[in-house]
């Protein structure tokens, strides 16, 4: 029982990382209609930036805050100068652009910091706490809680503030929103900035565990995409639930189903997807999207 709880908590922690990336992907998709395959790569770059400031002697929390602010700017600039041109066209072409961006960003990390694994300090203490007879990592618990809090804050932003209303309006119908005076371009930049921020938070929280390397979040991205497919592109809550489920499930399967084990656990979410989606193509929570010709 103790192991089980441990695995669940750890699973929720990794699941929250996937959830953050998945949410970022959904945010970008709602605003600009494309999937940003570079979301994980950008998050890794953010973690490296925090690393640089830590190396310069700044306290970790300050380094993280600076990295988050810079990530927001980076996301906004990427939308304006790289992605803008491809937003009105074929989404598949836009995806290839994001893949190019992923390669570029990974390459930048490789050139500046090499492929060696770098140690990144943990924001949370590496102690354990006892819950229901199980020994649970404080870091896992804190990571999961932090990301949940941030997601709640983001939801509040979207649902309760004028900015959030504007972002949703632009995501819904940019041309019509412009007629009410909304500065569409600027709002899209904000959307991408927020997504990059989400990614940055995920990146710095998971870096201590995975160790910093250019390809650190490649696998996480795959999980995040699986969560988006399962949860549906139109449902942020669905993605979060799916991501958490994936995190917990992969941990449990890795330990309790030795045939699959740790190396093949990545196959689990996709096996799940194949099964579920044959029955329900719009995902567990999503709404069927009507395509108007």
């Amino acid at each position: 029982m103790g192991t089980f709880i441990q695995l669940v908590v750890d699973g929720l922690a990794t699941g929250s990382i996937y959830a953050a990336l998945a949410l970022a992907i959904v945010l970008v998709n709602q605003a600009t209609g494309l999937i940003n395959f570079a979301q994980g790569g950008m998050a890794v770059l953010s973690a490296y930036i925090a690393y640089v400031f830590v190396q310069l002697g700044l306290p970790l929390i300050l380094a993280i805050i600076i990295a988050i602010v810079l990530s927001f700017l980076f996301g906004a600039l990427v939308e304006r100068f790289l992605i803008r041109r491809f937003e009105r066209g074929d989404p598949d072409t836009a995806v290839v652009v994001t893949i190019g961006l992923l390669t570029l960003v990974t390459g930048i990390c490789a050139v500046l910091w090499g492929y060696n694994n770098l140690g990144f300090p943990s924001l949370f203490p590496l102690t354990s706490v006892e819950i229901l007879g199980a020994v649970v990592s404080v870091r896992s618990l804190a990571t999961a809680v932090t990301i949940v809090v941030i997601m709640v804050v983001l939801q509040l932003l979207f649902l309760r503030t004028k900015l959030g209303l504007a972002l949703r309006a632009v995501a819904d119908n940019p041309a019509s929103a412009a007629f009410s005076g909304l500065p569409v371009g600027r709002l899209l930049m904000v959307g991408w900035g927020l997504a990059a921020t989400l990614g940055a938070i995920a990146g710095v929280l998971v870096a201590p565990q995975l160790t910093l390397t250019p390809g650190m979040l490649d696998t996480a991205l795959v999980y995040a995409l699986a969560a988006v497919i399962l949860g549906g592109l139109t449902s942020p809550i669905g993605c979060v639930v799916a991501a958490s489920a994936i995190g917990v499930l992969e941990n449990l399967v890795a330990v309790y189903v030795p045939l699959i084990g740790h190396d093949l656990k990545i196959a689990v979410p996709f096996a799940l997807i194949f099964v579920i989606l044959i029955v329900r193509p719009q995902g567990l929570f999503g709404r069927k999207v009507v395509v108007r010709v």
Binding site: K162, L165, A166, R168, A169, A171, D172, N173, A175, S176, A177, A178, F179, S180, G181, L182, P183, V184
Partner: protein
């Protein structure tokens, strides 16, 4: 005082020239109609004003040249465009749609008052305030679109084919509400409408477009009396 003036405006979508020299003017608080058959360029004229299409010629609003401005910049100057097809923000609620209309305003109390006014103007929306806008009927969406435009407290309202896709009685109700809005608020209006009868119920003067050019301009009374108009647009 002339609020809006178009002089020899041209517009094209890529290689296709849609407007070939359109001129018209709207006085302060006035109401002008744009009539014509499908494809004459009526909608494009409105889009030229709101900055949604590349144009040539001159467009002056409130004394300044607005040609080449982005739609959100045009909106900030006091022009509210209710587009063809309504442009409803489907995933947002009715109330949120109205709130978006007031995006550029800062007077929160007045905004709340204006929302109440909208709901009074369009009572059908009162029960649907919390519903997703995409779930509304065509007529309700049209009312919502006009309401959203009003929420910006514009000086000029651009109305594009408000009767499109609506049952005749619904269209009449919508136009009655818009007429009341005009009387009570004094907003100037430029109305594109294929249904000339409805148009004449709202506008003082009108211009008729054909293949991107003005062919006829006059007061509603004059135009209603003309045989061509009667035959072409009023059903004989």
């Amino acid at each position: 005082m002339t609020l809006l003036e178009l002089t020899d405006v041209t517009a094209s979508y890529g290689p296709v020239q849609v407007l070939d020299g359109v001129s018209l003017s709207v006085p302060d608080g006035g109401s002008v109609g744009i009539l014509g058959a499908n494809g004459a360029g009526k909608t494009t004229t409105l889009r030229a004003i709101s900055g949604s299409v590349r144009t040539g010629g001159r467009i002056r609003f409130d004394g300044r040249d607005i040609r080449g401005l982005r739609p959100d910049q045009v909106a900030a100057l006091g022009i509210a465009h209710v587009p063809e097809g309504r442009g409803t923000l489907g995933q947002l609620s009715v109330r949120e749609n109205l709130m978006v209309g007031s995006y550029l305003r800062k007077d929160r109390k007045a905004i709340a008052g204006d929302i109440d006014y909208c709901l009074d103007l369009f009572p059908q929306l009162q029960d649907r305030v919390g519903s997703r806008a995409a779930a509304l009927s065509g007529g309700e969406q049209q009312m919502l679109a006009v309401g959203r435009a009003f929420m910006a407290k514009p000086k000029l309202l651009l109305l594009d084919e408000a009767s499109l896709g609506l049952a005749p009685s619904t269209a009449k109700t919508v136009y009655q509400a818009i007429r009341r809005l005009r009387l009570e608020s004094g907003i100037a209006m430029l109305v594109v409408e294929q249904n000339a009868n409805l148009a004449f119920s709202l506008v003082d003067t009108a211009t008729v477009l054909e293949t991107g050019r003005n062919v006829l301009t006059g007061t509603s009374a004059e135009l209603k009396g003309m045989d061509e108009i009667r035959r072409a647009y009023l059903g004989g």
